[in-house]
């Protein structure tokens, strides 16, 4: 990972020096060993502060939206899972592909912070991280620690389908083997839920949705949620609001509505990056919800995982002369 980091800093410095981009959006070391922070490198010196560790969990692609109407070029660091988000934004016409330089890093999986901090002192300084294929070796000032990937990676990394970015202007670092658990099935969780009877399934989701705080973290992090103004949170004062999709009140019924509306809005568009489930403060398994419609879209309409190809036609918008249309 050391050589990858050096290449990344060099590429970033090069882009900034040549003024090809205004910022390089990447990761910097966070407040403790197992934390990184989003970092906007604006000059060569700051490019040297970029980092690449097994804790660069979150997707940086959505930061592009902050600049969607500005006339500047940006570079963004992506892992395999995040790279699909670039295609999502390009496809939704939210960011012109030529305005972004994608720095893709083949990813060996991200470590689960909780599991690491059970072993390592948070205050320890990370000197170097080494990807040894099936395990990570963390060298810190408190000693060296070895983490078996199958045991300590994030759940989403063990289900990884594209650890090498699907889109990248520069591929930074060597290709690494996928951390996915061999023979993993993306829809295994959905199948388990489908196998439940209606009452049990309803109880399952009731249990989860009852906890929802409607904090909108899932929406905020989602690359498919790129509306200017969310239809579930209109900026209209209450006294002016007529009838709306949802009131501000959180109740089980309204939470159901919220999640189902969101599910429909990302149908055929969810790139299955898993960020929603990761950011949820009450651990709602949102990914299974969106995967259910993805699975249906795949089985009924032959829709593959969105975000792999920026040219692909969005679900339910294609038309062929041979389609039956007597219902219209």
């Amino acid at each position: 990972m050391k050589s990858t980091l050096e290449t990344l800093r060099k590429e970033a410095a090069h882009l900034l020096k040549e003024e090809r981009v205004k910022f390089v959006i990447g990761y910097a070391q966070g407040t403790d060993l197992a934390r990184t922070t989003p970092f906007f490198a604006a000059n060569v010196r700051q490019a040297g502060m970029l980092t690449w560790t097994p804790f660069c969990v979150y997707s940086l692609v959505k930061y592009l939206l902050d600049f969607r109407y500005d006339d500047i070029r940006l570079a963004v660091v992506v892992k395999g899972c995040d790279s699909r988000a670039v295609n999502r934004l390009v496809q939704d016409n939210q960011f012109a592909r030529e305005r972004v330089v994608v720095l893709g890093i083949p990813c060996g999986g991200m470590l689960d912070r909780e599991k690491v901090l059970r072993v390592v002192e948070p205050a320890a300084a990370l000197l170097e991280a080494e990807d040894r294929g099936t395990e990570y070796l963390l060298k810190t000032d408190c000693g060296e620690f070895c983490f078996e990937k199958q045991e300590t990676l994030l759940a989403k990394c063990l289900e990884c389908e594209h650890n090498v970015p699907v889109v990248a202007d520069r591929m930074v670092g060597p290709k690494v083997p996928s951390p996915a658990r061999p023979g993993m099935d993306r829809f295994a969780g959905v199948r388990e839920l489908e196998a439940l009877d209606t009452a049990a399934r309803s109880a399952f989701w009731d249990r989860h949705f009852a906890r929802c705080l409607r904090c909108f973290a899932c929406r905020n992090v989602c690359p498919a949620c790129n509306c200017k103004e969310c239809s579930l949170e209109r900026a209209v004062p209450g006294w002016q609001q007529g009838v709306c999709w949802l009131s501000k009140r959180t109740s089980l019924g309204l939470n159901h509505m919220f999640h189902l509306i969101r599910m429909y809005h990302v149908t055929g568009r969810c790139i299955d990056c898993g960020e929603c489930a990761r950011v949820c403060p009450v651990n709602i398994p949102l990914r299974e919800l969106y995967r259910k419609v993805a699975k249906d879209a795949n089985e009924l309409l032959g829709m593959s995982l969105p975000g792999l190809d920026p040219e692909e036609k969005p679900l339910l918008t294609t038309y062929q002369a041979t389609d039956p249309d007597e219902f219209m």
Binding site: Y69, D92, N93, Q94, N226, C227, K228, E229, S231, G242, V243, C244, W245, H265, K313, P314, L316, T317, T318, Y319, A321, T322, P324, D325, E326, M328
Partner: protein, 661 residues
């Protein structure tokens, strides 16, 4: 707060006989914003309408709910009532308590009462959020373009042109006339088909207001009702029709022999040819695929012989546009290709198994045999002729599920023609049913039976060759016995299907086709010549199999609609169409591909935001001339930026709340 009035109609006993209308009115008086609520026997009657007008004035109503029948029936009526009362006509909301309630719940009165009340509550919730809508106007280009020059297209063109509007007639073949001019006689009157259609073709050519393009196809259609722009490609004919006199020297001497399309492959034509002697325009074209000069580079006989110097091998396709206000699809039909699927009839291997259209050419005095019925294989006169009906029609497994409508009659006609032209001939008709709905049709069929045509009810299981003859093996289901007939000639009544390329035409015109590829009418009964796309009309067999009288009637109907449209100086547009909230639109343009009417387009806007320089960005825009208000864009817009006026999210959610909460 709006002031809403509720009017509950009894519709005589239709509604009043099932539910308690005064009770509904009394309860509706308590709904939000309702200031006046009454019931009446017949609201659509003159006194009923006047009662609403009076109530609007007396109670200063600004929203009206009419609880009565389907809005399809009387919404327009009550809009006019509101206009007469001085209100915006779009401030009326109907609650359908007849079709949706009393008609279907006549036996369960209590529940019907509850449902009717819920429907009224829904309507009140929506009415309270209705906004005035205003029609706008668009200009009309007073010209019409017709696709297809068969009898339907010809009739429409003549009718529209006679009404004083310019017509552009586009035909892809080298001549107009279509299928009708290929026929010999027309049932049931047995008048000569060419004799009644060629004068109409000539009239088209001679009409000062008809511009005829043959060998031409439409390539692109843009615009909307009243203002279409159509791109037409006129294919190279390699003969300059300005110079050509139609003298016929060229085709006399052309060395190439090609199966004639006009004679359904039974005769020969040359590579430079006119399809038939009465073709319009009566000037030849070169068939590039078979021309010796184009295939080998040598020949040029026609160019050398042409006294007018009209042959031009360098001619190229012309592409040009025409601006019109109305479009008519009259693309007609073709016959089902039976030889692909009907193995039991020989897959087309036996030359003496022919289609009805080939029989028409055989029996036609201008056809390849000069009107003598002769076997294509050896030119001998057939003694026994077998007709097989429903080949491809009413056969879901191999062909089409529908009845092709014309086959029963033309088979009866063919059978009579055989009896008339071949003395002592034996004629058998294998049929499933004989369907003869039409003026004089049943009499005609009875005449065929009387004159000795043997009708055998049953399907033919196999046709095979035995020496010179064909053996037709079938079953007589009335006697329950197998039947075997030695035949000299077998004629198949093949199914009628949409002309080749009809799907592409539908796509270009922005209209829908049904499961079988026939164009979809706006309403099968009440709007049979209109489509869901404004300004596009249908004539003839492109919308369903039709015989000649029906085709001509429909063509004149379409012409009446076109003339009605073109007679207006301006069109008022339906205000219940989509609108885009540009602030909310993110410019994802998912609405563009889902719009069946191509009404949504990208537009550049300049946004002014406090503290920012003006910024340009692309958002969706609605073309009011094209939009039909179907709401597909509304459904696909996650941001809720596209809404249909009169069906906004707020209004619909209010209805849902009123029904469910």
């Amino acid at each position: 707060m709006p002031r809403t009035g509720v009017f509950v109609c009894w519709c005589g006993s239709n509604i009043g006989g099932v539910i308690d209308c005064p009770g509904i009115a009394a309860q509706a008086a308590g709904f939000p914003a309702v200031v006046h609520s009454v019931d009446y026997k017949y609201l659509c009657s003159e006194p009923g309408q006047n009662m609403i007008i009076q109530a609007v004035r007396e109670h200063r109503l600004d929203r009206v709910v009419v609880a009565s029948c389907s809005p399809r029936l009387h919404e327009e009526t009550f809009r006019k009532v509101l206009a007469r009362a001085g209100l915006n006509p779009y401030l009326v909301e109907m609650a359908n308590i007849r079709e949706h309630c009393t008609w279907v719940h006549g036996a369960e009165k209590e529940q019907a009462q509850a449902k009717a009340l819920a429907l009224v509550r829904r309507a009140v919730a929506k009415a309270n959020r209705l906004e005035p809508l205003f029609e706008s106007t668009i200009p009309v280009t007073k010209r019409c373009l017709i696709v297809g020059g068969g009898i339907a297209g010809i009739q429409t063109a003549l009718d529209v042109a006679d009404a004083g509007h310019e017509v552009v007639l586009v035909e892809r073949e080298p001549t107009i006339g279509g299928n009708m001019v290929k026929l010999d006689k027309t049932f049931p009157t047995l008048d000569c088909s060419a004799c009644i259609s060629t004068p109409k073709m000539a009239a088209v050519a001679a009409h000062p207001d008809i511009r005829l393009y043959t060998c031409a196809e439409i390539e692109k259609v843009t615009g909307y009702i009243g203002n279409f722009e159509v791109t037409i490609r006129r294919k190279a004919r390699y003969v300059d029709h300005e110079k050509c006199t139609g003298c016929g020297t060229c085709w006399e001497k052309c060395p190439m022999q090609v199966p004639s399309e006009f004679n359904a492959g039974l005769g020969q034509r040359k590579a430079i040819y006119i399809p038939f002697p009465q073709a319009v325009p009566n000037k030849p074209v070169i068939d590039r695929e078979h021309c010796r000069y184009f295939t080998t580079g040598k020949c040029q006989v026609c160019a050398k012989l042409c006294p007018a110097g009209a042959v031009d091998y360098e001619q190229e396709d012309e592409v040009f546009t025409e601006k019109v206000g109305a479009l008519v699809a009259a693309t007609g039909f073709q016959l089902f290709n039976w030889s692909r699927v009907y193995g039991e009839y020989g897959y087309g291997r036996y030359p003496d198994v022919i289609t009805g259209l080939q029989f028409e050419r055989l029996v036609n005095a201008a056809g390849p045999t000069g009107g003598k019925i002769l076997r294509p294989s050896d030119g001998s006169a057939p003694r026994t002729v077998v007709f097989i009906k429903c080949v491809g029609s009413r056969d879901e497994s191999k062909g089409r599920s529908y009845c092709s409508r014309i086959c029963c009659m033309y088979t009866a006609k063919h059978a009579l023609q055989v009896l008339e032209k071949v003395p002592g001939a034996q004629v058998y008709v294998f049929y499933m049913d004989v369907r003869t709905a039409g003026k004089g049709y049943e009499e005609f069929y009875q005449r065929a039976v009387r004159e000795g045509v043997v009708y055998v009810r049953g399907r033919v299981s196999k046709v095979y060759r035995d020496g010179e003859r064909l053996v037709v093996r079938g079953v007589d289901t009335l006697l329950g016995r197998p039947v075997e007939v030695d035949a000299d000639l077998v004629v198949l009544a093949t199914a009628v299907e949409p002309a080749a390329g009809a799907g592409e035409t539908a796509r270009l015109l922005g209209i829908n086709a049904d499961r079988d590829g026939f164009f979809q009418e706006a309403h099968p009964k009440l709007r049979p010549v209109e489509t869901h796309t404004g300004g596009v009309f249908l004539a003839g067999a492109c919308s369903s199999p039709k015989d000649i009288p029906d085709t001509v009637a429909q063509a004149s109907g379409a012409a009446a609609k076109v003339v009605g449209l073109l007679s207006r100086e301006q069109l008022s547009t339906n205000p219940m169409i989509a609108q885009v909230n540009e602030t909310l639109c993110t410019g994802c343009f998912l609405c563009v591909p889902v719009c069946p009417y191509k009404a949504l387009e990208r537009r550049k806007i300049t946004e002014l935001l406090p503290g920012h320089p003006p910024r340009e960005r692309e958002v969706a825009g609605v073309n009011p001339g094209l939009c039909q208000g179907c709401g597909a864009c509304n459904a696909v817009c996650r941001a809720g930026a596209v809404e249909v006026r009169g069906f906004t999210n707020e209004q619909l959610l209010a209805e849902v709340d009123a029904l469910c909460l």
